[in-house]
């Protein structure tokens, strides 16, 4: 995990903790069946993965990342389904912004992979925008092949590294 995304998550958690709006801690209307979400308001720890309005929930239950084919930035049907859910969450949680991180696997030259990561991040940004998310809430960065999550040198790892990750941040602090 990158320094910046760690920092954003901490900032986001602090921002959430400081938020005094009690409605945020209720079960999200229409947010049915989120894994790990407590059934009653009493069982939800604000900001935790059980809170459907938390970045942790977004990360773990919605799914914060989509994957790409080799040297491609086209969104697969699976990727679009994940992004539909991301867009839905962002529409409900308007206090948040998102930075899309684009990544590549190690099979490619360094600078090309930076540009390829930008392509992937932008494919996600454009899709979220098409689903109604205001472009002003979205930004992107490419890490190229600099931040792999899986370290082996075969397709089982490469397929996990060719990704775009939606990092949720608090608009109150980044805007």
């Amino acid at each position: 995990m990158t320094h910046i995304s760690k920092a954003l998550l901490i900032v986001a958690a602090l921002g959430l903790a400081a938020c005094a709006n009690p409605s945020r801690f209720g079960p999200g209307g229409g947010m049915d069946g989120g894994a790990g979400a407590g059934a009653g308001a009493g069982g939800v720890v604000p900001g935790s993965a059980s809170d459907p309005q938390s970045p942790a929930y977004f990360r773990e239950s919605i799914g914060d990342r989509v994957f790409f084919a080799v040297d491609q930035s086209t969104l697969s049907p699976e990727a679009r389904a994940t992004l539909d859910a991301q867009a839905d969450w962002l529409m409900r949680n308007t206090d948040y912004q998102a930075v899309i991180e684009g990544h590549a696997d190690e099979q490619g030259t360094r600078e090309y992979n930076v540009a390829l990561g930008a392509r992937r991040a932008n494919a996600v940004m454009e899709y979220l925008t098409s689903q109604g998310i205001a472009p002003s809430r979205l930004d992107f960065v490419s890490y190229g092949k600099e931040r792999p999550v899986a370290v082996c040198s075969d397709e089982s790892c490469y397929s996990r590294n060719r990704r775009a990750v939606t990092i949720i941040s608090s608009s109150a602090l980044t805007g």
Binding site: T109, R110, V114, A115, R119, E126, E146, P148, C152, S153
Partner: protein
């Protein structure tokens, strides 16, 4: 840090010199072997690779029948030239350790090229106990030393070290070129040695020197999924590593300025890749203000006044040029594809870059002002990271084909492509200042994979790892100091 050199002071002709050369212009460091007159021994060079013939013709280095003592670097197979390097004579006790160290570095420089082979001192018949004494050529012929290097090291006690040396063509029985002396502070001993070795190299190969040069690179530590990267600078041989940044932000692809005074690089310090310029002297760095969005892949123009770089706007990456003095940028490419890794021709008139406008990464050449680009790579696979040779005659590149990576060279019109290396992941070539050696990064396969620096001759010979304290990537070879 940089020692002040008293550079290239010519010594009177050696005791055995057949021809007194008299007063000649100050040695310029660029004289070629063929300029020396007199009967010289032509050292046996064997070429077994027909594909190199074209290259030899291209560079005008086809072996002459009656040349001087010399090696042709462009040949495919070279029998290393045996040389004798008796320990330089120390003048005074203090100079003893300096003499030993300087002699050792000279030996490492020469043998490290793969073009020279040192005859062990234990085989020497003659001992050189005085720099001024006549050379007993028969003793050196008897052990088949083609070249003999003699020298003297003195110290004036105030931290100033002087090295004098002569190079002898043993079988011709005469001095090869003129004796020279260099001086430096005690922190410049390795540079003194590199200067001497450069003279030996250049007089025997006819090529420009390169040992007294530095490389800026990315020092890497830690596992693949948590790697720390720092800018570092070192001598060409991996000695004297000095770190220029801490490991807090990812840094990529540093590029030396033509004079070696500045380094351009890409940093994630702001959270998003952007171009910074660092002053090598004081280590200070600043952000180059080059527009909105991600900027990366910077490189200096030959006059050091312009930076070419890539900028990503949305999913599109194009090449721009910025005048450093005014901060004004202009767009050089405008296609919806990825254009990156620009590199100027040494005369500044053209730029080679990579683009996937055809569907895969390929190499293109365009005028330095932008405009229509000519594709030059047409082989199998993907081509990236092109770098124009300082001699202007070739372009080095990374090629990816059939699951392997290669460092290769081609002529500037794309002809005569030759692959120099093959591995799981080789990338990012950079040229030695004389255009005869290429350094690059090699990443090993697997979860424990790490990156190291390697060098290879443009003939594909003498692949060597460059020893650095930790991992290394993205080397950029600076000018001769």
């Amino acid at each position: 840090m940089t020692p002040t050199f008293q550079n290239g002071e010519i010594l009177p002709a050696g005791a055995n010199a057949a021809v007194l050369t008299g007063v000649e212009p100050m040695y310029a460091g660029r004289e070629r072997g063929e300029h020396w007159s007199g009967r010289m021994v032509r050292y046996l060079v064997r070429s077994v690779t027909a594909f190199l013939v074209g290259l030899a013709m291209l560079t005008g280095m086809a072996a002459a029948q009656d040349g001087p003592l010399r090696i042709e670097i462009t040949e495919g197979v070279v029998e290393p030239l045996p040389f004798a390097l008796p320990a330089f004579v120390a003048q005074g006790a203090e100079a003893q350790q300096y003499a030993e160290q300087i002699t050792q570095v000279i030996s490492q420089d020469l043998t490290g090229t793969g073009l020279f082979r040192e005859i062990p001192r234990s085989s020497h018949i003659s001992q050189i106990s005085s720099f001024g004494s006549p050379v007993q050529f028969s003793d050196w012929r008897a052990i088949n030393a083609q070249a003999l290097i003699t020298g003297e090291v003195s110290s004036d006690g105030s931290g100033r070290v002087v090295v004098k040396f002569r190079i002898w063509d043993v079988f011709a029985g005469q001095e090869l070129g003129q004796g020279l002396q260099f001086s430096a502070g005690t922190d410049g001993l390795r540079r003194l040695a590199h200067k001497v070795a450069d003279q030996v190299y250049t007089r025997i190969t006819g090529e420009d020197p390169y040992f007294d040069s530095r490389v800026v690179f990315v020092s890497e530590t830690g596992p693949k999924d948590n790697r720390s990267k720092r800018l570092a600078i070192m001598d060409y041989d991996g000695a004297n590593v000095r770190y220029l940044t801490d490991g807090n932000a990812i840094v990529l692809a540093p590029r030396f300025s033509p004079t070696g005074d500045r380094v351009l690089y890409t940093s994630y310090e702001s959270g998003s890749p952007s171009i910074r310029v660092l002053s090598v002297g004081d280590g200070g760095s600043r952000n180059l203000q080059v527009g909105q969005g991600m900027t990366f892949s910077p490189r200096f123009s030959p006059n050091g006044q312009t930076v070419v770089y890539s900028q990503s706007e949305g999913s599109n990456t194009d090449i721009f040029a910025m005048d450093i003095a005014t901060g004004q940028s202009r767009r050089l490419t405008s296609t919806p594809s990825i254009e990156t890794a620009p590199s100027f021709s040494p005369d500044g008139s053209r730029i080679v870059f990579e683009s996937d406008r055809s569907g895969t990464q390929q190499l293109y050449v365009m005028p330095a002002s932008g405009g229509e680009a000519q594709r030059i790579s047409f082989g199998q696979g993907r081509y990236g990271t092109p770098v124009w040779s300082p001699r202007g005659d070739m372009i080095a590149f990374t090629k990816q084909n059939a699951g392997r990576f290669h460092i290769g060279v081609m002529r500037t019109d794309g002809s005569e492509e030759r692959l120099l290396t093959a591995s799981f992941l080789d990338e990012g070539p950079t040229w030695a200042p004389n255009g005869r050696v290429i350094m690059f990064s090699r990443e090993t396969q697997g979860a424990q994979g790490s990156s190291s620096l390697y060098s290879v001759d443009i003939s594909g010979r003498n692949l060597q790892r460059v020893r650095t304290p930790s991992g290394g990537s993205d080397p950029s070879w600076g000018p001769l100091q």
